[in-house]
């Protein structure tokens, strides 16, 4: 460990603001990208489920129509 104490670690020899700004924003940017990627995945999965329900409804109404014709 290069630093004597936690407070020295956070201070980064007087450059604490810049070092933690750089690492903090980088971490936020990466987390944002990961969250956006998960959101996009959920979006596609929901679209997939909606499409399947729609197909099922179409099938069901077709069956009904055929039933009423008889």
């Amino acid at each position: 460990m290069q630093f004597d104490s936690w407070s020295a670690f956070w201070a980064m020899g007087g450059y604490g603001f810049f070092v933690w700004l750089a690492f903090g924003i980088s971490l936020l940017a990466l987390i944002g990208l990961i969250l956006q990627s998960r959101l996009a995945r959920k979006h596609v999965l929901r679209a997939l489920l909606d499409e399947q329900k729609r197909q099922a409804r179409i099938q069901a109404s077709r069956h009904q129509q055929q039933g009423s014709k008889l």
Binding site: M1, Q2, F3, F9, M12, G13, G14, Y15, F18, V19, L21, A22, F23, I25, S26, A29, L30, G32, L33, I34, Q36, S37, R38, A40, R41, K42, V44, L45, A47, L48, L49, E51, Q52
Partner: protein, 254 residues
């Protein structure tokens, strides 16, 4: 000879391969990047000129290198998509571009936060910084072009052409510190021969580069899977996934 590769161009196989790789990639990415960052921040010796501000190197250099590395991967995918008309390659272009854009943003931002205490300014319009900013605009352009087409096949082609044209920027970024007078320092570890950095500083840096590369690969593959599902949503293999809960759990762990 390379025939064993062909099935992986098919979307279903590509999807499954990504699913198998993702857990390993995510775990090793988190571990290696974590070790590298902690080592760099807490255990590496401080610089005799720059004090502890030099520790920004452990995120700045990896993100800058990868902003260009990821662009190369994207451009190669674009070339494959355009020349051999492989659809999955154009999907990879769309999946990779946002990852590269975020890496470029990180490189620019951490560069600014490093420049302020060392150069006395957040930003200068010099060759290295400006060409890196252009790289960010290239990424955003590729993303916007892909988004703006309803026909994603056409959008993929247009974005691919833009990605290929933008390749000219890569050597400009790399050699900008040699071709022009600049505030930015020259290459430290990509120099031929001996790198001009102490090994105690170099090892955590290499770990950070590898770790961030794995993070980028994991996020890229995850996005690529999503793009495959979006583009082939009417295909039977995607429909079969709807009941499969694993696709929802398959996110990376960082």
């Amino acid at each position: 000879m390379w025939k064993w590769l062909h099935p992986y161009a098919k979307s279903e196989q590509a999807f499954r391969l990504c699913g198998r790789l993702l857990p390993w990639l995510s775990i090793s990415a988190g571990l290696i990047l974590g070790v590298g960052i902690v080592w760099g921040l807490a255990y590496a010796p401080s610089d005799y000129q720059q004090g502890d501000s030099f520790r920004i190197i452990y995120i700045h250099v990896p993100s800058a290198i990868l902003s260009m590395g990821v662009y190369s991967v994207m451009a190669i995918s674009a070339l494959i998509g355009l020349v051999w008309q492989i659809r999955t390659a154009t999907m990879a272009v769309a999946a990779i571009a946002p990852v590269g854009a975020v890496l470029t943003f990180i490189a620019l931002f951490t560069g600014a936060a490093w420049g302020k205490p060392m150069w006395g300014t957040w930003w200068v319009w010099d060759a290295r910084l400006t060409s890196e900013l252009i790289l960010l605009f290239l990424y955003l352009g590729v993303m916007a072009l892909y988004q703006s087409f309803d026909d994603k096949q056409q959008g993929g082609k247009a974005a691919g052409v833009m990605a290929l044209v933008g390749v000219v920027n890569l050597p400009i970024i790399h050699y900008s510190v040699e071709w022009w007078n600049t505030l930015h320092q020259g290459a430290t570890i990509t120099k031929f021969g001996k790198p001009s950095i102490a090994p105690e500083m170099l090892w955590p840096l290499l770990l950070c580069i590898l770790g961030l590369a794995l993070v980028s690969a994991a996020i890229g593959l995850y996005r690529f899977q999503t793009e495959l599902m979006r583009r082939e949503i009417h295909r039977p293999w995607v429909k079969a996934l709807a009941g499969d809960g694993r696709t929802q759990e398959n996110s990376n762990a960082i």
